[in-house]
Symmetry: C2
């Protein structure tokens, strides 16, 4: 049994309540691990435990299943937790805060940073959590879907929750430039390319009539500067310029 | 063929490039519709089109498939689009901005608000997009996953992109209180409940020793105020108080 990389309290525990199909348990483990969640708990899995269908589906996330705790009821599964969310698709007639996954994972991060242990309950595939299960939770998570169409399956619900957990903890920039082994051209390289363009275009009489030339040159320089060219793109354009004005045989 | 509710330019188009299994096309349609995306385009689906397996899987999202455009190549599928994203799992050795789904959908919302038509390309199930496909895109979307584990399938990639689209457009509050037909208690109701507690507890000699009584009462009031009780919960506590002090037979 491969040990888990993270402490029990370092991220939300995922509690699958009375899951039916082993395949869905395995798919939930994969969904979790995509976004760094490793701690799974199972409440009364229908087909017993361990479950070969779950293991087969989990593939590289098999160690999440091997480490999963199995409990008889929800109360036992969350007994050592400080704060519990229940995921439901719709209102349950219980007085509770209802959060989006986004707001819940923001709150969960704050609680976990304060040393609290957080769990998220997911219900069985078809029926979802019963009110007796939801009563064990401090708050509800409901994914804000198209009101005219809801078809999220168990692994997809786990996936969206885990995604929000990682998204909010990520320090990664939202946008980065893939440079593929080259580098952005420096300003002086752009400037020299502009000089080269002007020189070759002057030769061809491009800047006509003369009173419009300054504006045409400004536009040219602006365009070259705005593209964010790489060093190799600048070299390519130099080569193209030379080639285009080469006398034809 | 049921018409689509949204205009072609109102949300990103989802372009599935050389998809293999019909089931995955159907699952992608469902993933889209969960978060309000209706416009699908298909590039050279392996098993032809229409595909009964896709229809069977799509269930309530079948009209997304019925309205899907089918194209021979990526160039044709995005010819009428102003801005194209390509989803890839890893760097492709091409100079392009790489965005998270979050940053990409923020940018897409801005472009769509400015009247631009945006498309998102997804590759075939196993291999993903080829560099020739990616070259048609202005930018890359890469989901920031656990660097040690990647197992997102086609429908899950579509789901996360569609989720980000809807999440960023939602005006819904991240947290709301489900009140289940009752209402929060007013401050005067909380105050009267505190009076009732104090009265009954005084009778039982709870506030002892006398010098600690003010602090004990303060804690009691603070606790009752902090719970955010509903009107019916206040009534329940009044009833409990009365019942507990009733002379036993």
């Amino acid at each position: 049994m491969r040990p888990l990389a993270t402490d029990l309290g370092a991220a939300p525990l995922i509690v699958l309540t009375r899951p039916q199909m082993g395949e869905n348990i395995g798919a939930a483990a994969r969904a979790m691990l995509n976004f760094g969640l490793e701690h799974m708990r199972l409440v009364a899995p229908r087909d017993g435990w361990p479950n070969p269908s779950a293991t087969a589906m989990a593939s590289g996330a098999g160690y999440v299943l091997e480490n999963a705790g199995v409990f008889e009821d929800v109360a036992g599964a969350v007994a050592d937790c400080d704060y519990v969310y229940a995921t439901t698709a719709r209102g349950r007639g219980l007085v509770k805060p209802v959060l989006t996954p986004e707001a819940a994972m923001e709150e969960a991060r704050a609680m976990i940073a304060a040393g609290k242990r957080v769990a998220v309950l997911f219900g069985p595939e078809r029926a979802g959590l019963e009110n007796d299960d939801v009563a064990h939770a401090n708050a509800i998570i409901t994914v804000p879907v198209n009101p005219g169409f809801y078809s999220l399956n168990l692994a997809q619900c786990v996936l969206l929750t885990a995604y929000e957990w990682m998204r909010q903890g990520s320090n990664a920039a939202g946008v980065r430039l893939e440079l593929a082994g080259t580098d952005l051209a420096s300003q002086i390289e752009i400037e020299k390319l502009g000089d080269h363009f002007e020189e070759k275009l002057e030769d061809t009489g491009f800047f006509f009539p003369p009173e419009k030339a300054p504006h045409m040159k400004l536009n040219l320089r602006n365009m070259l500067g705005r593209w964010g060219m790489t060093r190799s793109e600048v070299q390519t354009l130099h080569g193209i310029l030379r080639q285009l004005v080469r006398p034809r045989r």
